[in-house]
Amino acid sequence: MRLADHLIILPIVLPLVTGALLLLFDERRHVLKAMVNVVSTLALAGVALLLVRMADAAGGDGVAAARTYLLGNWPAPFGIVLVLDRLAALMVALTSVLALAALVFSLARWDRAGPHFHTLFQLLLMGLNGAFLTGDLFNLFVFFEVLLAASYGLVLHASSPLRVRAGLHYIVVNLAGASLFLIGVSLIYGVTGTLNMADLAAKIPALTGPSKLLLQAGAAVLGIAFLIKAGMWPLSFWLPPAYTAAAAPVAAVFVILTKVGFYVLLRLSLLLFGTGAGESAGFGDPWLLAGGMVTLAFGAIGVVASQAMGRIAGYSVLVSSGTLLAAAGLADASVTASALYYLVSSTLTTAAFFLLIELVERGQDPAADMLAVTMEAYGDEMDEEQADEEVGVAIPATLAVLSACFAACGLLLAGLPPLSGFVAKFALLSAMIGSASGNGSISGLGWALLALLLLSGLSALIAMTRAGIRTFWAPVEQTVPRVLVIEIVPVGFLLFLCLVLTVEGGAAMRFMDETARGLHAPGSYIRDVLSAPPVPAPAAPEAAR
């Protein structure tokens, strides 16, 4: 086994070790903790980019489409495996980039607003990466719980009554979701006798009669657990309050949490209920399509109805989820490819928007109130640190920079040219029309989805224009928020990535196309995972002793 093969487990081990290490330092040494965290997250981003290259090189003639890492060196259906394919690599890379931006942003003040921010942050990354890389349903549950437990801590970070209340609801909903997850997993195990995703995909086509029904019931219960996470209406009412109440860098990282739900749904629906699944083929797709469309409509209405910018961002998360779920429900390779492009673009945009909101609202009353409460709750030492911080480098022309970033966010959310939001939406629409013209005409549902997509863009445009005018143009006595360089750079970084995604649109779409093709033809994934050879034992273990 070459050294490069061990890269697959690094995105899980690195945050775990860092998180544990950070526990050893006292809270007062926050500079050291911050440095360790930044270095680890940077290393993670580096590893993630290497993994993307590794995954992208795979799939050629004679090269495995999915790289498998056998934990404990047992062959696939018996041991737990990690599987790296293009989708997993893409999600890990997106997570690490997002984490980097949120972490740098938090260094200005948020990381000291409560204890153990850095440890929880790293454990969240561990859970996320594990959920993306695992090839086993129960392991997925464990990583889900790791990331949820860390997110419970983070949603309460810098605790204020508002956060504790929103966090309470968030935790109850997700604990109930975890129970559904377990019921689904155990039903599936009871029917098939396996929890390995590739092995399940190989066994499902043979199921008929009552076993098939039980399996579908299990998959449906499991699906609901992920739909809660992805925020499908009517399982999404907890989401906007929790995301709005969370501290800005936390909310930015949480944007990827909804995408975890979508990731699992996409992977499982295509792997277990793809075209080769016999009688169960296409199970759940109509539900995903309908649920996605309702979520999209709900999110779009919510965006228009929101007064505060935080809520606009919260509902934008729902719009993005709805779009992705509906696209997954269409189960078409080119639509999936565009949906993945949209996923990257919308995740970066919404995260940047969450960070930006905190900066823009800093000068205004509600946010100031909230921060004041936060500091009160956390005690006096905060004030002293705050006083030191005023010396930090503030940026010139604050309002101009902020409004430019805001305009970029608006364009991206509404899906207007010239940024990647437009490319993503255009690709989605053209893929939907293209796939429909292949098999006759667009159905009524297809037209409704097209209309909803365009309307959601319009609603984002209206809401963003209104919020922008009210914030940047209308006030007579403008209070200029004090923004540090370290806070605006992450926002700029995320928006810059969207720009890169636009300029390099061709290369990005090629990658997404290959990802989608691999997902829609899971044969090679199943074969690669199940045939991954264990590492041979060292030649002479006796002699070494």
């Binding site: 419970y152 604990l175 997993v185």
Partner: protein, 113 residues
């Protein structure tokens, strides 16, 4: 017979749990979540089929797999118990924090009315 008892047990646990989960007091919610997790744990266990006097671990002389019960659900249920225990403890802390900050044990932090 034993299947019937187990099924009724799971049903009672989960049913009472769901009812408590929908109540407005945080204490009722946490008891509800605990009951649901007991029901779920029993359910996972039952997915390995109920066997009486069958060990989940094979020894050196094991030849016939039919003499043994399925060990995987037992391992799963252990993991689920540990994780459920940890998350319940965590929720208890949040519950106390909410009680301390808002002065109310209502899930919304304030009484309706």
């Amino acid at each position: 017979m034993i299947e019937l008892i187990l099924a009724i047990g799971i049903g009672v646990f989960v049913g009472s749990g769901v009812w408590l989960l929908l109540r407005p007091r945080t204490y009722q919610v946490i008891i509800g979540l605990s009951l649901i997790s007991y029901g779920v744990n029993l359910f996972i266990f039952s997915m390995g089929r109920l066997r009486i006097n069958a060990a989940p671990i094979t020894g050196p002389g094991a030849t016939n797999p039919a003499d043994y019960t399925d060990p995987v659900p037992q391992a799963l249920v252990l993991t689920a118990i540990v994780i459920g225990f940890a998350t319940t403890a965590l929720f208890l802390v949040v519950l106390l924090a909410s009680r301390g900050l808002t002065g109310s044990d209502h899930v919304d932090g304030k009484e309706t009315r």
